[in-house]
């Protein structure tokens, strides 16, 4: 049962919030030993929140919009009484958070039921959630493969049906990459849409927060509940709410839809290109479009990320570099040593990039591109090959997402299932102009209703073998037969 139906069942009394919580806990207990999505659980709190919902219904009160809906959050969100790890060993020494992150407060007010905190790459600097301190989060569709990152626990928890939605963060692709590799829906809102107050930062200039979910409604309903101005977050630019739930079914008729070519096809395998083409075709795309200077946008995002991330952790890098994640500490140090010119050039270019992108959206309403170049590689993969070019695996997972988030555009990641990937998913990015999440979500609903993008049930409980449940409606054909197997990448 997915988000919308779950909420209806709870609202009607067909199911109690307590029963829904019992189901989620049972699913977590049955699957998390293999998946490793959770780093901490809040079961007593969850029980109290579910009981409160059931008590309100028993009193005949109107229920809030997310009443009884279970969820969990990436462990960089503050949870009252729990230490905010941000995927690190070092943060274990911090005091427990005195209050929930603002978005968690808003979800609580909307009646959602918090089950705990989820694994991630240390300090969000990664695309794979191969976390040395807490173990890798494994892909529920094949536990030998990566979940993606840095919100890997958030993607895997939804893919494993542990909870219907989660929260993650996305600086360069950290919601969209795990959505793609785990086959779940993801929403990276406009930069500045949702307050980040009460979360552990990575790159102040680019950090976004957003939901991952089992359905388009699972994105839209929590997203609406989390909206609102916050003058205390200098990166929150929204002045008021712009709810989307009521417009989800408006379709895409009349919208100008384009398929991104050039960079977004050069850096994508045939399987990734195939799902983008299918989505674009379903949405009535009329032309191929060029994103302005995508390689420059990615380069600038890379430099800003390294510089701000390195600077943020300078004190610990000086004093205790051995306590960092071995997979990312050298990148943090390299970032901390960048010449000022590189950083300032990248920040100056960001405005140029933004203006070119906004000009593009005067001619288009929605643009479509793959979210990742490949489906989930095996855990530990060092190199992948994309169209004959060898790339370091971990940074390459963000090749197609970084130019988009650097411009601040809202993106829905729509989970699709190409041929040639051994049954593993690849998501498609549905990209709209800043502040037009509604358009991206309307397009997502069209793909969902057409059966083109959707979740697949995975069998990831004890004793089950890695794999997935084949869905007959998902037979896609990629052009040609040259789709690489990401698990057999060189290196």
């Amino acid at each position: 049962m997915k988000t919308a139906q779950l909420l209806r069942s709870i609202a009607s009394g067909e199911l109690s919030a307590g029963e829904v919580l019992d189901e989620a806990i049972a699913r977590i207990d049955a699957t998390d030993a293999r998946i490793n999505a959770f780093t901490g659980k809040t079961l007593a709190r969850a029980r109290a929140e579910a009981n409160a919902v059931d008590a309100r219904r028993a009193r005949g009160e109107a229920l809030p919009p997310l009443a009884g809906l279970p969820y969990a959050v990436k462990n960089l969100f503050d949870i009252e009484g729990m230490t905010t790890l941000a995927g690190s060993k070092i943060n274990r020494e911090l005091a427990p958070a005195p209050a929930d992150a603002v978005l968690v407060q808003r979800l609580k007010a909307a009646g959602a039921v918090l089950l705990g905190a989820l694994n991630m790459d240390e300090y969000a600097y990664g695309f794979t959630t191969e976390n040395t301190h807490y173990g890798p989060t494994r892909n529920p569709h094949d536990v030998e493969r990566m979940s993606g990152g840095s919100s890997g626990g958030s993607g895997a928890a939804v893919a494993a049906s542990q909870v219907p939605f989660t929260l993650g963060s996305d600086t360069n692709g950290s919601i969209r990459v795990p959505s793609s590799l785990c086959g779940v829906w993801g929403l990276k809102p406009t930069f500045g849409r949702l307050t980040r107050r009460g979360t552990y930062p990575f790159v102040h200039s680019i950090d976004h927060l957003g939901p991952l979910a089992d359905s388009v409604e699972g994105l839209a309903l929590p997203y609406d509940a989390m909206q609102g101005a916050d003058p205390l977050d200098p990166g929150c630019h929204a002045q008021r709410t712009q709810p989307v739930a009521a417009v989800l079914s408006q379709g895409v008729k009349g919208l100008r839809v384009g398929l991104l070519g050039g960079y977004f096809q050069d850096n994508a395998t045939p399987a990734a290109c195939a799902v983008a083409a299918l989505a674009a075709n379903t949405l009535g795309a009329v032309d191929e479009v060029t994103w302005p200077d995508a390689a420059l946008g990615r380069a600038a995002a890379f430099i800003v990320t390294a510089a701000e991330g390195g600077s943020l952790h300078m004190a610990d890098l000086r004093e205790r570099a051995d306590d960092f994640e071995p997979l990312s500490v050298d990148r943090f140090i390299a970032g901390a040593l960048q010449p000022a010119h590189w950083y300032l050039q990248a920040q100056r270019y960001r405005r140029v990039h933004r203006d070119k992108v906004n000009a593009l959206f005067e001619e288009w309403d929605l643009l479509v591109a793959p979210a990742t170049p490949v489906s989930a590689p095996l855990i530990g993969t060092e190199w992948i090959e994309i169209n004959g070019v060898k790339h370091p695996c971990r940074p390459a997972m963000g090749l197609l997402t970084q130019p988009i988030s650097f411009a601040g555009c809202p993106v829905v990641a729509a989970p699709m299932w190409p041929a040639g990937t051994g049954g593993m998913p690849i998501a498609v990015q549905l990209i709209a102009a800043p502040w037009r999440e509604d358009i991206a979500l309307r397009a997502a609903k069209v793909l969902q209703d057409a059966g083109v993008a959707y979740l697949r049930t995975c069998h990831c409980g004890p004793g089950s073998s890695p794999g997935f449940q084949q869905d007959p409606q998902s037979i896609l054909r990629s052009p040609g037969s040259s789709t690489m197997d990401p698990g057999s990448s060189p290196g």
């Binding site: 140090i333 390299a334 960048q338």
Partner: protein, 69 residues
């Protein structure tokens, strides 16, 4: 920059920043920085003009939500 120049830069900049690095660590960091240097070189082709200001989030104070009196 050549590999040797990147490594020399890493060692000098790490000393300036007070970041202890052993020889093996400096080599690993230099490999990452060389990749970033290529991206920085790419950005040199962006044709930035003098009036292209940095993107920023700084504001002197929050925008007043109440109307002006």
């Amino acid at each position: 920059m050549s590999d040797e120049e990147v490594l020399a830069y890493v060692n000098a900049a790490a000393a300036a920043a007070g970041l202890p690095l052993d020889a093996a660590g400096a080599l690993r960091v230099a490999a990452h920085l060389a990749r970033t240097a290529a991206m920085a070189q790419l950005l040199e082709s962006a044709g930035l003009q003098a009036h292209d200001e940095p993107a920023e989030v700084f504001r002197p104070a929050p925008f007043p939500l109440e109307p002006l009196a």
